[in-house]
């Protein structure tokens, strides 16, 4: 399916695969898109954990790095800690609460960031949710590698939607987000 307005190629529907199944996928088309949202239409009920695997780029001009933010159920996340490396130094810190992936801008031709995001016990109604991410981009001369830990403590509601965006700029063409469910 191709939606020329959003510039997204999207598909959904689980591919059977035992305890790890594909739920939905979005590939960004020409022109990019301002955000990508996965919404639970009932398909998530059979899973214990969620995993998002992504390949992402910012449509911003120049050669630098932007950050992909994630919101849950349309709410900002609560806390973020990270381990960060840029090729010359390594550091730990507290960052923007929604930050999950550091991505290259369009000046880095054909270069995309990779990310694996784990969202544990997403449907629990008694626990705050913890999200962990391994993400990174290398450009042959620059690069950023980040291990993020995010907390969602707005409430203990089940997670029913995930939205990814980059502040003030589109997610670039060929970016790819795939949502998987993991059963227990």
């Amino acid at each position: 399916m191709f939606n020329p307005i959003l510039g997204i190629l999207a598909s959904s529907g689980a591919v059977a695969g035992g305890s790890y199944e594909s739920i939905a996928t979005t590939t960004v088309g020409s022109g990019g898109t301002s955000s990508i949202t996965f919404t639970d239409g009932g398909a998530w009920a059979s899973y214990k954990h969620l995993q998002v695997r992504a390949l992402v780029k910012s449509a911003n001009s120049g050669s630098s790095f932007d950050v992909v933010n994630m919101t849950i159920n349309s709410n900002n996340l609560t806390k973020n800690h990270y381990l960060y490396a840029n090729g010359s130094s390594a550091l730990a810190g507290v960052g923007g609460t929604n930050s999950v992936i550091n991505v290259p801008t369009s000046g880095y031709t054909s270069v995309f960031a990779g990310a694996v995001i784990d969202i544990l016990e997403f449907s629990s109604t008694t626990k705050n949710k913890t999200i962990r991410t391994l993400s990174g981009v290398d450009t042959n001369g620059a690069g950023e590698l980040v291990l993020y830990s995010n907390l969602y403590a707005v409430n203990t509601n089940a997670i029913t939607s995930l939205t990814f965006s980059i502040s003030g700029v589109n997610i670039a063409q060929y970016s790819h987000f795939a949502l998987y469910g993991i059963k227990d």
Binding site: S12, R53, L55, A90, S110, S135, G136, V137, Y174
Partner: protein, 163 residues
């Protein structure tokens, strides 16, 4: 119906060798995950490359390494191959590593690889690597600089298929 996360090939060494190659990788998956659990017959470094390309200089990586006393970062550019370890493991030691090849068959993008590496005797590390080539990855090789991977070393390649 096709499986979502399935083993493509696995090798548990019955004899020592200095190179493991997964070849003829189909393009039907979205991502690849390579899990390695090598045991070393000597104190050695080991490296990886794809599609038999060990001489183009198209590889680079950024790394985060913790060695038990401090964390550091480094970078490799214009390389012919990329090392999985930073500190040379001891002879007889066993490591674990997981490599994520994102969108490995997408011919519109350079290939980005996320690596997690653990050696209880020397380091824990994460790496992001780039192969500046838009060709689909059809083979992955892991090889040693010297000596061999010992009997019992295990390597498994998985494919993940998005809906």
């Amino acid at each position: 119906m096709a499986a979502t996360y399935e083993p493509i090939a696995t090798t548990t060494l019955a004899s020592a060798t200095d190179i493991i190659t997964f070849s003829s990788i189909p393009s039907t998956y979205t991502d690849l995950v390579l899990i390695g659990n090598p045991k070393l017959s000597g104190s050695l470094d080991y490296k990886w490359y794809v599609n038999g390309d060990g001489s183009s200089g198209l590889y680079s990586q950024t790394r985060l390494v913790g060695n038990g006393s401090s964390a550091s970062s480094g970078r490799t550019t214009g390389a012919n191959v990329l090392y999985i370890n930073a500190n040379t493991p001891a002879s007889g030691s066993v490591q674990t590593f997981i490599m994520n090849f994102q969108n490995y068959a997408n011919t519109n993008v350079y290939k980005t690889v996320l690596v997690r590496y653990n050696d209880a005797g020397s380091e824990t590390a994460a790496r992001v690597a780039l192969w500046r080539n838009t060709n689909a990855i059809t083979s992955i090789s892991i090889s040693t600089d010297s000596s061999t991977f010992a009997v019992g070393s295990m390597f498994t390649l998985y494919g993940i298929k998005a809906a």
